[in-house]
Symmetry: C2
Subunit: 304 residues, 2 copies
Amino acid sequence: MEKFEVHILGCGSALPTTRHFPTSQIVNVRDKLFMIDCGEGAQLQFRKSHLKFSRLNHIFISHLHGDHCFGLLGLISTLNLLGRTAELHIHSPKGLEALLTPMLDFFNRQMTYEVLFHEFDTKAAIQIYEDRSLTVTTIPLRHRMPCCGFLFAEKQSPNHILREMVDFYQVPVYELNRIKNGADYVTPEGKIIPNGLLTTPSAPPRSYAYCSDTLPLPSIVEQIRGIDLLFHEATFASEDAPRAKETFHTTAVQAAEIARSAGVKKLLIGHFSARYEDESVLLQEASAIFPDTLLAKETLCVSV
Amino acid sequence: MEKFEVHILGCGSALPTTRHFPTSQIVNVRDKLFMIDCGEGAQLQFRKSHLKFSRLNHIFISHLHGDHCFGLLGLISTLNLLGRTAELHIHSPKGLEALLTPMLDFFNRQMTYEVLFHEFDTKAAIQIYEDRSLTVTTIPLRHRMPCCGFLFAEKQSPNHILREMVDFYQVPVYELNRIKNGADYVTPEGKIIPNGLLTTPSAPPRSYAYCSDTLPLPSIVEQIRGIDLLFHEATFASEDAPRAKETFHTTAVQAAEIARSAGVKKLLIGHFSARYEDESVLLQEASAIFPDTLLAKETLCVSV
């Protein structure tokens, strides 16, 4: 199976603790790396996870709170020191380019590569990235400022050719791409060989959604229905539900309810408030509602 | 003895490694905390060192390279989240306030406390801080941009009163301060009691100098002569001396030569290049010239 995994670089919330870095993740899809959020220290954690900077070309920022983007200056500067030449794309809600540019200009007098900002409207789900095997779509969230999650969805892969059958029917090479994509084969004599005889279906496409920071939002359920892995913030335990509401955050129970309603396969919770010395209370509360729940943890890697 | 110690929060140089954070230190003088430089992640390391944010009122920035100041945004924002009310003073070369202010204004809509910037000229040694027991003076350095080190010098403490002698001569309470500061006592009968009979001298004042980033600079030797502890950058080993010169940095041997010329008591080296998997080569090279050399290390605490 092609690689599709999520590395947690940081899963704390805004206040620093001795246990967590602020939010950042790497999504590895077939060795292309995508960063989601970039809290302070993300580049240090990136190194600790033994990932390669050269494979990172796109960064997605959910919203412009410091604990989700203060690591950008250091990361961008480091890539410059390393002599990067490939463009770096930063996707974010409006305003980031204007904020970062004066500092980037001052601290990196000569850039070896270009940083391209792509600012999206947070009100509707928009596809903001596409390549041969993947799309990334925003998930509108509700926080104290414009904020989006991100849905990483694999495209359906072509079917696998059954080499021995293709040889048996003497299918010409130029027909193979059509057949991979589902076409039947018609022999020179006009006989139709059904696609099912020539191929086996590829694995179903997988998908991962990242939702942080937000109030629990039933409106996201349709967009994330049936996905393989959902990361959802679970900043607070139930006893702090009033505080969660007040600060536009989610409790572990609420995150689990979203996961259950959407029928996702696995739930990963994070963005833990600094008040919990031990997050097992959050895991317990979520697992009671949605058993297949995992706690995020720095350097944890989860397969989608 | 009153507390005077240096905590290493980070001692790497600009490129992140799995071993080091970028530069930041805390100088603890009698439970007042002073930060020197504030690389990315400084606030996280601060927490790890179990220090109290409320005791930090002054930050000294040596120069405006990212690896010495990218942690400021996160730290200032965290203090705001914590509801700090005391002013925070940031001393730096010119330019920092203009760079940080737009980002601080955006990311901290409502500040609970005031950040006061004090920008100094890096060309001459200037006293930039003073309280009852301490002065901080800049040490002009030579780097690729305006840069200063900092000399933390205790003031001479008043002498200790010998309680039994003061009682014996029936010295009135209102005379005690003068006597602590060296005055003799004159009895109502006009007899002179020499100060040496009434007091014992306090411990000699201690001092700490921080010198990073810089070419090895003989001009600093007079200013740091005989100090108790010198932190000097030692970015490179001797085999990389050409690279040190080119980038305006110091080798471990050159740092040790400065320490020896200045007759300091102890040398602490840091700001290690990412190229050394193991910094013992730097320690060996420095120790050969100046035996009382220590390697900096995250969370290390050295008494001055």
